[in-house]
């Protein structure tokens, strides 16, 4: 029942490949876009070419890499913690909590909070509040089981969605428009300061998750299994859910919910490399970032000058590709 360990050489090869593709995609993506850019002028700092390249494309590429990576990594983590193949970063209710926060900000016209866009702050607060509630519901003294955690998350999801529908029903036309747009999720060129804050959160949390990979391996097999090997499942479950939720909450506050990345990238990697989290986690981050970046680049150029919601592309491209993978799978999808 134990997870098949990956050989060190394969681990290195897998991570190197993922990192190489990640870097190449990051360098190539800013070259694509709906407007034509004169590269010489852009590098020389001439307007508007330079602003297009460094003010809109590069920040958006960075946001795609960081959010795709975070969502996909959080997906791997939650699938292991909850031992549910259908778990996503959103299963614990984080994104619906964020959405509820955002919808409240829209309906009450909160434009800025603490000097930041009100939507971001409200969405982030919404997801943290949801996390605390879910953990409180699932906690039973010092014990906590992934099953109650899963059910608590699903329930909070439904409750938040119900409130969103209620608010949407009472919203006026302009608000209703803003709500629907937010719920679709999208990547925007954020300023570098915000991206830096995102990086400063995502990077340490991700590294911590990579370091703990062996523990996630044990959790993925079963809580008794983990306990029998001297690991406290309750504590892992708690720290894991908090880490995964922070990743999800930060990203969702800035982009809105973007589906599919957190589901199919982890599973595609499981099909390719097996279930060892030492390879799954870094690869999930790198391939998740690359995947979302590719999807967003397509979303930017496919119908230029109009843009498509990136969630549409992740599902349209990711869905069929994943079905092909499933049909050709050699190994079990799970453990």
């Amino acid at each position: 029942m134990a997870i098949e360990r990956i050989e060190p050489r394969r681990l290195t090869a897998a991570v190197t490949l993922a990192l190489a593709v990640f870097c190449v995609a990051a360098l190539l993506a800013p070259l694509a876009g709906s407007a034509t850019v004169d590269w010489k002028k852009a590098v020389a700092g001439e307007w508007p070419d330079s602003e297009i390249l460094f003010g809109t494309r590069v920040p958006r590429v960075l946001l795609a890499l960081l959010s795709g990576g975070s969502l996909s990594l959080a997906g791997v983590l939650f699938q292991a913690l909850l031992r549910d193949a259908l778990a996503t970063p959103y299963t614990m209710g984080i994104s619906s909590g964020a959405s509820l926060g955002a919808v409240l900000a829209i309906c009450f016209g909160i434009r800025t909070l603490a000097g930041l866009p009100g939507l971001w702050v409200a969405a982030f607060a919404g997801s943290l509040l949801t996390l605390v509630l879910v953990l409180a519901i699932a906690a039973d003294g010092r014990r906590m089981s992934s099953f109650t955690l899963l059910l608590a998350g699903v329930t909070m999801n439904s409750i938040s969605m119900a409130f969103i529908l209620l608010l949407h029903n009472t919203a006026d036309f302009g608000q209703s428009f803003a709500i629907v747009r937010w719920l679709m999720g999208s990547l925007e060129p954020l300023d570098y300061k915000t991206l830096l804050v995102l990086l400063a959160t995502v990077l340490p949390v991700s590294v911590w998750l990579f370091v703990k990979a062996r523990q996630w391996n044990l959790m993925a097999v079963g809580e008794e299994w983990a306990a029998a090997r001297g690991v406290s499942p309750a504590r892992l479950l708690l720290s894991g859910s908090i880490a995964g939720s922070i990743l999800t909450a930060f990203v969702t506050a800035l982009t809105g919910p973007i589906g599919f990345v957190g589901l199919i990238v982890p599973h595609a990697l499981r099909l390719r490399y097996g279930a060892d989290h030492r390879v799954l986690m870094p690869c999930a981050f790198l391939w998740g970032g690359t995947f979302l970046l590719v999807c967003d680049t397509i979303a930017r150029v496919a119908m230029a000058p109009a843009e498509l919601p990136v969630g549409v592309i992740t599902a349209i491209i990711g869905g069929p590709w994943f079905i092909v993978l499933l049909r050709s799978r050699r190994r079990s999808l799970w453990v």
Binding site: A304, P305, A306
Partner: protein
């Protein structure tokens, strides 16, 4: 001839009297009915209907996508106007044996067609014809006064994430606003967009660099706005100080539903555009 058609349409359902209890299921219909002088006969409107002010006191029947059928029935209407919509409202109303007439009001031409349909259904063709003539004259006057002026390129922002410049939605080709702009001596910078209301990336905004930016993105719903709100919106745009419209002080935050309710106030909307684009042409 039209009279006859109207009579044929109305007679079987109602006998000889023209409809006296009309329910409107969209703000644009409500505005049209009142502008045509049929306001007295309106007995129910949607929760979104706010113009003219007296409609606020009328019974509300919900929204046009989610109407309350019981309320509509309780108002005992002899005529219900609907807008072409995806929820089969007209069919559902007809199943309740209501006299429902579907209108299309998403372009200038269709607004004029809807006027004729309203005139026929409500046996009020004189009134709707007068309104039509009046509106056509208003549009024509604006068109003529801006005819010799240079065509300014205009970005019309109809939506964005409140408080930021993100998630920007513009008016695209063959949208209602695109048509209105043409009358006021403007050219929509996104008139090549494949969709009527495209979400536009910032790089398109920068590379097209419009002469004028009209922004109702923050509050398409709010009527009027404080100086403070305007200042906040202008501050957002200063993120791109080199944009022509920002540099030349031609970013205009707008707050009125005359721009988002396609109907008889289109002349008002067009005059407002002229005032902003070609102030010298406005008398």
């Amino acid at each position: 001839m039209r009279r006859l058609a109207a009579a044929l349409l109305v007679v079987p359902l109602l006998g000889q009297t023209p409809p006296q209890r009309i329910v409107s299921t969209a703000p644009s219909i409500t505005e049209t009915l009142f502008a045509a002088g049929l306001g007295e006969r309106v007995v129910g409107v949607t929760t979104y209907c706010r113009y003219p002010p007296q409609v606020r006191r009328l019974p509300k029947i919900g929204t046009f996508l989610e109407p309350d059928f019981e309320k509509i029935l309780a108002l005992r209407p002899d005529l219900v106007f609907t807008i072409k919509n995806p929820v089969q409202l007209t069919e559902r109303l007809r199943k309740l044996r209501l006299n429902a007439v579907e209108l299309d009001q998403d372009s200038i031409a269709s607004i004029f067609r809807s006027l004729e349909a309203i005139g026929q259904a409500a046996a009020a063709e004189k009134q709707t014809a007068a309104l039509e003539a009046n509106l056509r004259q208003g549009l024509e006057e604006v068109r003529r006064s801006t005819a010799g002026k240079p065509k300014l390129s205009v970005l019309f922002v109809v939506g964005r994430t409140p408080g930021t410049l993100e998630g920007m939605i513009a008016a695209g080709k063959s949208s209602y606003l695109d048509e209105l702009l043409a009358f006021a001596g403007g050219r929509n910078v996104f008139d090549d967009s494949p969709v009527p209301y495209p979400k536009i990336p910032h790089e398109e905004l920068l590379s097209r660099d419009p002469d004028v930016i009209l922004d109702i993105g923050d509050f398409a719903h709010a009527e009027g706005s404080s100086r403070e709100r305007r200042e906040q919106i202008l501050a957002l745009w200063r993120k791109y100080p080199k944009l022509k419209a920002v540099r030349t002080g031609r970013v205009y935050p707008l707050a009125s539903d005359i721009f988002v309710v396609p109907g008889p106030r289109m002349v008002e909307a067009v005059r407002e555009f002229r005032r902003l684009l070609h102030p010298e042409a406005a008398r």
